[in-house]
Symmetry: C2
Subunit: 256 residues, 2 copies
């Protein structure tokens, strides 16, 4: 059975895209069939995989706007990375307004992903907002992964995010779970980092992944080379952390 996870946090710059891309690449290295969906008009996940946004005609925008669009026809394949991608395009910026009067506007992505049975994992990279695009991601998913930057302001928004997830569960997607909160950009030289980790583990016991992703410049460099960390700098601290996250996820997702 396909597991569909959304990477969500309305706080910006906390590591949603970095986590979706790099977790995806290590799940693929563990022989999982992985589909990445770039649901952000910024198109960062698409850029991280080296795809030129201007050349894209198909992709997430099509899936949302044309209910009969074929998933396969809107998916690109990277043999080198063993990952498939539904790319973002600049047109996605207009999708929220275009869908506003459609009755099934929250279900468009979930309908499209009903054709995703061939994949073991579908990873949806959401924009930093709680608007209609993120709502589509949450309705389409079985669970969410919440990257939490090890900084004070990232703590502020967690309550609001969890309230929103509760509302979505009640109104649209009864089974939506929290797969886990992932602490990101941990800097061992800063007291602040440890304080935030301690605070999150205190408030949300059992919900926080064991792995903590360190701040590691290789993770910030990899996007400019259009590669995930697993090929750009496989021996870096960032690579080891995301490889362990893939192991932690796989061992927790007991086979059906």
């Amino acid at each position: 059975m396909t597991r569909i996870y959304a990477f969500v946090n309305q706080k910006g710059g906390v590591g949603k895209t970095t986590t979706a891309i790099n977790l995806g690449s290590y799940l693929a290295k563990n022989n999982q069939q992985v589909l990445l969906v770039d649901l952000d008009a910024q198109g960062n996940a698409t850029a991280c995989l080296g795809v030129e946004r201007q050349n894209i005609n198909a992709g997430t925008y099509n899936l949302l706007i044309s209910p009969n669009a074929r998933l396969h026809a809107n998916t690109m394949r990277s043999e080198k990375l063993g990952i498939s991608l539904v790319p973002s395009s600049p047109a996605l910026a207009g999708a929220e307004v275009e869908l506003v009067n459609e009755t099934d506007r929250t279900n468009r992505l979930s309908q499209a992903l009903s054709q995703a049975r061939r994949y073991d994992y579908v990873l949806i990279d959401c924009p930093p907002s709680l608007g209609l695009l993120t709502l589509n991601g949450l309705v389409a998913s079985q669970a969410v992964v919440i990257p939490v930057q090890c900084e004070y302001l990232a703590l502020e928004g967690l309550g609001q995010l969890l309230e929103t997830i509760n509302r979505i569960q009640a109104a649209f997607n009864f089974d939506l779970q929290i797969r886990g909160m992932l602490m990101t950009m941990y800097d061992s030289r800063l007291k602040l980092s440890q304080q935030v980790v301690d605070e999150v583990r205190l408030h949300f016991p059992d919900k926080v992944f064991q792995v903590v992703i360190p701040r590691n410049v290789r993770l910030a460099e990899a996007p400019s080379h259009g590669e995930p960390i697993s090929t750009y700098a496989p021996e870096s601290a960032g690579a080891y952390a995301y490889a362990s996250l893939a192991t932690e996820i796989l061992s927790g997702d007991t086979p059906y």
Copy 2:
């Protein structure tokens, strides 16, 4: 005459809130009357000034939803910091949907700020998106300040942002200028930081502030104390950088 600046970038976590708060506090130290408008449902600017979001009844949401709302009645004053604030509240998350069918939905903030003549500077902190709230911020402003994090992914979105600003100029706000791009979170130990600064100065000569804001943990700590850097750690590298930005802005804004 009042100068109204919007702090905008749809890329998340680049320093919009940090810049609005800290620039505001140094403009106030230079005897300017400063009003901060928190246009982000996350309410980070409100939290940075130590205001508990749950206690807020008035604020930005009121200004947007009730066209006859009085600016003064929705403004809080911090004598200690010499700054006034229109706070965010959790209700702001619903404003975009509530305004969607209003014909003047893009002008609500601009109408409210017509009552802001007593201030020398109005600084609007925008959310990380290009939706109706940010659109209200851009329509209400004379100019934008664009924080650009010294990382590759932050470069990716600049083109899209400038296109959006051009569209806004043509359709809603003919006089909207770019006051400047501010390089943020510069880490002198990383080649990546300098590469990004060089790239931005190359593509946008004359548009980039001389001052570059360094990565400085004091800036990330200050929000948990509910104070700007000017009172939390006035001798830090982050404080000196924002103080120089205020000087650069004041010397460029020739008196009317």
